[in-house]
């Protein structure tokens, strides 16, 4: 099975302290380190396990204007076991990202396209948009995949209340992957070094027959207006102090409100 996995480098909350820029247009990006989006990492692991089991290969693609950042996430996922990487070096926004991915997927012949359920933006739109543009069946938040045969998958989705929904879906299709679907393997520094000189084909949007105004910020149907930290609402209380003081205060509050005996 030929699988395309769409991936993205994001500022990992584990390794960064996120602050909002004073003008409210973005987060402060100086001194940030980028990692593979967690959902995408699960998607890549799932794709690799499927091909290890059923044969075929995995291609990872990222759309990213910062080549260094893109190279790092691509190589990490290639060290994990993806055979090919594709880099599209353009800044794409909103629907533009899905447009680029559609064009990339049409350059190859993929039975299955995986995306992470969502990335740092939190919109969770790309998978659905891509499926619609490609006119392929789509399922979101997939937490289980079983290959039935060359033309069909059995998939599981977690639905409200923690219940599981199981469906069959025809190939080729697009799936957005939920975390927890598997246990992603570790990528060692040695693994990354081993793929450090593998050629990664690079495209510009124009190489894919797309113009800048189809993918750029102006093409996006949704515009970001503001970023802000919510004001302290009524009844909310910020607990200050050292970790120990905070913990003690929380325990005290829980006890006093009857939440803990």
């Amino acid at each position: 099975m030929e699988i395309l996995v769409c991936i993205k480098g994001v500022p990992d909350l584990e390794e960064n302290e996120i602050e909002i820029k004073s003008d409210g247009t973005d987060i402060v990006r100086d001194d940030l380190v980028y990692s593979i989006n967690e959902w995408d990492n699960y998607a890549v692991e799932e794709a690799i396990s499927i091909t290890e089991d059923k044969g075929g290969s995995v291609t990872v693609v990222t759309v990213e204007s910062d080549e260094e950042k893109a190279d790092e996430v691509l190589r990490r996922e290639m060290a994990m076991g993806s055979q090919q990487g594709i880099l599209v070096t353009d800044a794409a926004y909103g629907k533009g990202i899905a447009s680029v991915l559609k064009a990339v997927s049409e350059k190859g012949s993929y039975d299955l396209i995986l995306t992470g359920a969502q990335a740092d933006g939190g919109e969770a739109q790309v998978g659905g948009m891509l499926a619609a543009m490609l006119d392929r069946p789509y399922a979101s938040l997939v937490n289980m995949i079983e290959v039935i045969d060359d033309g069909k998958l059995k998939i599981g989705r977690e639905i409200e209340g923690g219940d599981q929904e199981v469906s069959e879906i025809d190939l080729p299709c697009v799936l957005s992957i939920q975390t927890g679907i598997n246990e992603p393997r570790y990528v060692s520094l040695r693994g990354i070094r081993k793929v450090s000189s593998v050629e990664i084909p690079e495209y510009r949007a124009s190489d894919l027959g797309l113009s800048a105004d189809e993918i750029g910020i102006d093409a996006s149907k949704v515009k970001r207006v503001d970023y802000f930290v919510p004001d302290l609402g009524e009844g909310a209380e910020m607990i200050e102090g050292s970790m120990e003081e905070k913990v003690n205060k929380v325990i005290e509050l829980l006890k006093s409100k009857g939440g803990m005996s």
Binding site: E14, E15, D31, S35, R185, Y186, S188, L189, R190, R193
Partner: protein
């Protein structure tokens, strides 16, 4: 009276010369033994290289202490003394056994030099040696077979009980002792005469045979000779088939045992760090990826169970028992390199004999290696197996995030590099009391205080960093820190098998240290001490803060005020990476005892038998299967010793012990304090 005929001249039924047997038995025995040893050699020849020929004087010293003088045996008093008796008995009796074989071809043979007085002395000693070995084996057999000490038990998952093999071998040895004595006693009673040492086995037998007929004596003489001969060669060939292989291999294993401490073996001996990129595979994945010394370790394990008895992971019910790392390894060699039939090389060890959780369970505390009377190593094997797992991507999920954070930010919590010195420069009250230089932009100092990640970033452990700085100030040391240039020392990164990440951290740290121009390094974190001292191999001296301050106290340059609460009973917990791995046991105790009025007790397990509190570095992130926390057991040990304050000298011990005091239900009753904190609080 016709004298008793020896096996070289006796004729069975009057016409079969027994010399045929006394010649055939050794020939067959030696040939078979040679064949078995050759077969046992095969995997060693295919194993990974290992450099064990350096520092021969030190190796000879080990041979004298650990092999010949059996210095580690009395750590388990009864078993140790029994072993020493049997060991020395064997050494003495090896001469007698050799001459007995020759007596089979030549009646009355005496080894050159043992004809005169020397011979008398020898005979006197060997008769008592045989007697002592016999009774030691008897006691050992009763102990193994009847009393069954717990440490010999074989948990179900590791296969069948080993008692029968142990008792069988003891029976073989006793047979050797009895037959040798009977052989001589029969000749003596038959008129050979000579002095027999009173109350020795031979003396007892001779007394019993006093009235026996010449025919009986002749029969017993020949019978006991061949019982001895057969048992001797059977035993010889039986040795390499099980745990008694150590009788042959121990001398080599002790000679080749590790002579450095604290460090980890290179990925592959003979391959420089720069050439690591060219290796196809990392670590141990198949049996032959172990070094030849590590395979020799497997052969040598005597199954005595001391390692596992001391192992904290085993004590808390983690799926690791070092003894079975060896036993399973040995059985796997035996299975894949059989004495008969084709060998079956290149078999994977993970998933066949070892499980992932087993290999991740080790805290690398070193208690097993400290105890092993045969110089068997475990840490390097565990690290090599982890290198193999890391290479295959099989790292527990809980460890992946801290490893990635170490890669991105140089600390396992993913904290910002620029905040590494905040403990020193952001706390105004502390700054006013103790200015700490950050060695950048031309700021210089004599001494580098290497803080390491946990003391730099963890709010609780910041206090250890500040206390250490205060001690250095009081000692008049011109010191500074690296600030954001400092990365995690990588002590656990290396020990968790992520070699390239460790190399990366090491390179960045060495560059920063060299750049800073310091002349020596001090740290309060034993894990950092260990990595910098034993793994980085810097040209600079690296010291623990306890070494610095104990010297200052000894020279009276720093004075300590009386203990605040003289009612408290203190105990000192030896951190593994300070004690066992670096031999620093006395300095912290000297400094603590210099506090006037401080009452200190020792826990039962202290010094080189200290019990690991749960491990540091990445071990803090690992979630093992276990019944109880190591720290909880440790806190209970302190409680049993009558202490209510546990002094540690390691920030990771502090994490584990402070948590464990709460978990064990001793909150309010017991407390933990770091060595640096205690000393800083008491500086005049």
């Amino acid at each position: 009276m016709t004298p008793i005929a020896g096996p070289a001249s006796y004729k069975l039924f009057g016409f079969i010369p027994t010399i045929i047997f006394s010649q055939l038995i050794p020939i067959i025995g030696v040939a078979l033994f040679g064949y078995i040893i050759w077969k046992r050699f095969a995997p060693l020849l295919k194993a990974a290289p290992d450099n064990r020929f350096e520092n021969i004087p030190e190796r000879i010293k080990n041979l004298f202490n650990i092999w010949l003088a059996q210095s580690r045996q009395p750590r388990y008093m009864l078993a140790g003394v029994l072993h020493i008796i049997i060991f020395f008995g064997f050494l003495v009796l090896s001469i007698r056994s050799t001459s007995l074989v020759v007596i089979g071809f030549a009646d009355g043979f005496v080894l050159p030099g043992l004809g005169g007085v020397l011979g008398d002395i020898y005979n006197f000693s060997k008769d008592y040696a045989a007697t002592a070995v016999f009774f030691a084996c008897l006691v050992a057999a009763v102990r193994r077979g009847v009393f069954k000490p717990a440490r010999y038990a074989v948990p179900e998952k590791y296969g069948h009980d080993h008692t029968s093999e142990a008792v069988f071998v003891l029976a073989l040895i006793m047979t050797l002792m009895l037959s040798e004595s009977l052989f001589e006693a029969a000749a003596h009673a038959g008129g050979e005469g000579g002095f027999l040492p009173p109350l020795s086995l031979v003396w007892i037998f001779a007394a019993m045979l006093h009235n026996a007929s010449p025919g009986t004596l002749q029969g017993l003489h020949i019978f006991s000779y061949f019982i001895h001969d057969l048992t001797f060669f059977f035993f010889l060939c039986f040795l390499p088939l099980g745990k008694h292989f150590h009788v042959i291999t121990s001398i080599f294993n002790v000679f080749f045992m590790r002579i450095t401490r604290g460090n980890i073996k290179p990925v592959k001996h003979g391959i420089s760090d720069e050439a690591l990129d060219d290796l196809d595979s990392f670590g141990v994945k198949k049996l032959e990826d172990f070094t030849w010394k590590h395979l020799l370790d497997f052969y040598t394990c005597a199954d005595c169970g001391r390692c596992s008895d001391q192992c904290p992971a085993n004590a808390v019910g983690r799926p690791l028992s070092p003894r079975f790392i060896s036993i399973k390894g040995r059985d796997f060699i035996f299975k894949n390199y059989p004495l008969r039939g084709e060998s079956n090389p290149d078999q994977p060890v993970m998933g066949t004999i070892y499980e992932n959780d087993e290999i991740w369970s080790c805290t690398t505390c070193g208690a097993c290696e400290q105890e092993c009377p045969l110089g068997i190593e475990y840490i390097d094997k565990i690290v090599d197996l982890r290198r193999g797992l890391v290479d295959e991507g099989e790292v527990p999920q809980t460890l992946q995030k801290p490893l990635k954070a170490l890669e991105k930010r140089g600390n396992p919590w993913g904290k910002m590099e620029k905040k590494r010195a905040d403990w020193a420069i952001k706390d105004e009250a502390f700054k006013a009391e103790c200015e700490v230089k950050v060695l950048e932009k031309g700021v210089e100092a004599e001494t580098l205080y290497f803080v390491d990640s946990i003391s730099s970033y963890d709010e609780r452990m910041n206090s250890i960093a500040r206390s250490t700085a205060k001690i250095l100030k009081a000692a008049g040391v011109d010191f500074g820190i690296l600030g954001k240039q400092e990365k995690d020392s990588g002590n656990e990164v290396l020990r968790f098998g992520e070699e390239f990440l460790y190399q990366d951290l090491k390179t960045q740290n060495i560059d920063a240290i060299v750049e800073s121009g310091v002349k020596e390094i001090v740290t309060a974190d034993p894990h950092a001490l260990n990595a910098l001292k034993n793994d980085y191999k810097l040209d600079l001296p690296v010291k623990h803060i306890s070494q610095v301050i104990s010297r200052e106290i000894a020279y009276n340059k720093v004075q300590l005020k009386p203990v605040e609460d003289s009612e408290k009973i203190y105990t000192y917990h030896d951190p593994c990476y300070l004690g066992r791995h670096n031999g620093i046991y006395d300095n912290p105790r000297e400094a603590i005892d210099a506090i006037p009025g401080l009452k200190r007790v020792e826990m039962d397990k202290h010094g080189d038998r200290s019990f690991c509190c749960g491990g540091g570095g990445l071990m803090l992130f690992y979630e093992p299967e276990e019944e109880v926390r190591m720290g909880v057991l440790r806190v209970k040990m302190a409680h049993d010793a009558g202490a209510n304050v546990i002094i540690t000298a390691c920030p990771f011990c502090m994490v584990n012990i402070e948590d464990a005091i709460k978990v064990a239900g001793f909150e309010g009753e017991m407390e933990a304090i770091d060595f640096s904190e205690l000393i800083a609080n008491h500086i005049k």
